[in-house]
Point group: C3
Chain length 349, copies 3
């Protein structure tokens, strides 16, 4: 395995801020994805693999569950490391760490870690791409390869399971009957209901959202997902909200320049101090009119006051059977997340 | 007619601000144009019209007179609806509404409405585009089509009339003798004169200003026009200024990636509480050196103090005959605008 | 010589700010380079030179030493003039002036001047470019041509001399043994050492950093160089810092869309009131894995308090022989700069 080195380092500027004046969680996701894209693309073309004259590019396929450990502030320098930890025939696993540095105080903090999976594609015509094989990885220890294979199998199963919504949508069924897609709920007497929390962002993918392959950067989509999620959380709590963690995201349909994407969020579960928001992304190709399900994910938010102190969250008011069912699933995910955090802390000690 | 739904929804971020800290009027224009571009391009390619293998893109041809009804603030969510209301053989009329939502207060306001006309173009070579026909629209009521045709004929006449400046410029005549094109007037004793108010912005069109067709987004040009207009208004009033309304804009020559555009403004008329600024746009192709007249428009501004209260405007000092003539035309446009506003209010009651 | 006119005019917006809230020095460099690119590209294609069907584009080759005379503030309008002053067979010298205008106060200041050299390239295949000849310039006075030729010869020699680092790197030698490339120094007891001041930014070149030729704009690279330099200066002084001047920059290897560039800085010399930072740029092509030395330069900074008053600078602690050697060279450059400034002031009187 190659030595871990900084892959990206960038100063956080005023337009990277969220409403509280700190660095937008979505900007951190963009940095992580860009770093992953760089090391994965680098690996795909190492030693001019296979003498291919058409270079490969890495496209984001999946993000593993991730916690936002600490906030980052404007005018700090973000440093990102990225290390390839496993390679299958067509996919690449990248482990990413983010550090924030206050250059005035010579102070640095570990703020984020994440696991991202990429697939390699290569151009087969002027605008067509096909999935390509990936050069093998040399492991320091056979055990590393064995552990990697287990993570690969796990994500493959989880990815398959996550295709449920994708298949529903592609088969022409309405994704969710009671999801109106509108950002404004006319009836303001609706308080703390799921309907009240619904948010939609709609964005047309511009050249500045894309790599030169004209695929949207995974990061710019995740930033929009984070923003849509935060809108739902803020609508529910009526306070500023910060991203605490993200459940795994699987990308099922590519998003490309000129596509219009619709990002919708709704609160699915609340605990005493957190809100879970389901976010889904639908992609439309304007030149054919066809729409596809691109991805969905659960984002977890905490409500804070203006100085960043955590506030209690009003309980979600459940009206329909499907809302109650989703709340129960949310409760299970909440317990699983808690379990995972505890076991990680135990491992460290 | 298709059901009206949100076409764009976007959170207003710190870099969308103007000098007062509110959302820049030009950003609102960009949102409206992007929404119009999406629904018009969608319509052009509906059902893979005409089995054309080359998809069509909608390019902004004209904006009807529009009022800025209410300001929008940073961290609000802008929601934009767009509805196709008439289609001729080659043009598409889109009606656009903008709403601002304060998600903390569950408060929403109607802030802008506008009518935009698009033409469809399709690629005929790698960088050449030709105007294309447009699929027909199905109307709910024959009267809707008849009303649309009247609006179409009206805009056609008005568009023709607006070609005067275009023809003057293309025939090689200097557009305006006394327009020095400079933003800095050396003689600071010039107070409240037309010359003193002259402003010029010069911008080279970058990939991030363009759709993937490499045509500039109409919105980024209108944002620059709004900025140049505001500079002239501020030069005259010496106070912050906000855009109150825009007269119809006709686009006569396309603006494309790598072109350099020169946007010039000058105050043409002042009433007790408003300033009219004429803004023109000249486009230069660096690879051939050729220059063309792209468009012109009248922007209307009010002078405000730092808390947004309307202030009286110093009267414009007129020095030359052509300045006096333009002031008289401005007075007529001012009355026409007032009339239009009154009749609209009467219609509503 | 053509008449000098404004080539760019742009309002400074909130996202143009540095940490002090003034306009980022790097944004000024971007404006200057864009203006130079425009007049040089315009000249290359004048009269459809040589009947070439493939238009030429101007690529930044060198920046002469430049002083930042005065700061610029957000909401001021920047006006940039650019004049071609000499043309050799393949290069173009452009003289650039920058003015800041406060439109509320009718106040304008001369803030920057610079000399930029461009070479013309033209496409020879879909992504390949070759250096092209340039149409001749007509001089008002034969003396102007003669003076230009002297500047051309001087820059050619200086450019050649600056190739030392380039050749070292391209021959596979580590550029500098003691440059660890990391932005975070774990050992916080290191104070005022060269090692403590080391900074690295890593950036992947996106479409919005490029001209349509897909070459990076020289300005976006210089802005990153200025930022990396400022980081080193701030790490050393623990105060805000502003750019005072830049020594000549020679560009030896082009930077293109999708390349990853690593920009590293370290303090090389300190006087009582200034810091000299050496900045180098390494370019990596992800599709081949090849790395090249693109450019290096010395940036000079002063330490200021939050109201912009100049502060004394802590002396640099020198630990290795090569650090001492570089400090001595820095001292010589410092004296040369002082001499140059004095002689310029004498010339003016």
């Amino acid at each position: 395995m190659a030595e871990v080195a900084y892959v990206l380092s960038r100063m956080m500027m005023p337009d990277d801020a969220n409403g509280l004046g700190n660095v937008h969680g979505g900007e951190v996701l963009k940095l992580m994805e860009e770093a992953g894209h760089i090391v994965a693309t680098r690996h795909c073309n190492a030693g001019n693999y296979n003498n291919s004259c058409s270079p490969r590019v890495a496209v984001l396929a999946r993000v593993e569950q991730m916690d936002f450990l600490k906030p980052m502030f404007i005018s700090e320098v973000a440093h990102v490391t990225a290390e390839i930890t496993y390679v299958s025939q067509q996919s690449i696993e990248v482990k990413i760490n983010v550090y924030a540095e206050n250059i005035l105080k010579n102070d640095q903090r570990f703020t984020n870690r994440g696991i991202l999976w990429y697939v390699a594609v290569k151009a087969v015509a002027s605008t067509e791409y096909a999935v390509s094989t990936v050069p093998p990885l040399t492991y320091k220890d056979p055990q590393d390869e064995e552990d990697g294979r287990k993570r690969f199998e796990f994500q493959k199963r989880d990815r398959q399971a996550s295709k449920e919504l994708y298949k529903l949508y592609e088969s022409g069924q309405p994704l969710v009957n009671d999801w109106n897609g509108s950002g404004i709920v006319a009836d303001s007497t609706e308080k703390y209901t799921v309907k009240r929390s619904q948010s939609t962002l709609i964005h047309s993918i511009l050249p500045s959202d894309c790599y030169s392959s004209k695929f949207s950067t995974g990061g710019s989509v995740m930033k929009l997902m984070d923003t849509a999620g935060a809108l739902s959380a803020i609508r529910h709590s009526k306070t500023p909200c910060v991203t605490a963690s993200i459940d795994a995201i699987n990308f099922h349909h590519p998003m490309r320049q000129s596509n219009v994407i619709t990002i919708s969020g709704r609160v699915t579960f609340t605990s005493a101090k957190s809100m879970e928001v389901e976010v889904i992304v639908i992609t439309e190709d304007l030149s054919t009119g066809k729409k596809h399900f691109s991805c969905s994910a659960f984002f977890n938010f905490v409500s804070v006051d203006s100085s960043g102190r955590v506030l209690p969250v009003p309980p979600l008011v459940l009206k329909t059977d499907s809302e109650k069912k989703r709340f129960e699933s949310g409760k299970q995910r909440y317990s699983a997340r808690k379990q995972r955090r505890l076991s990680r802390e135990t491992t460290k000690n």
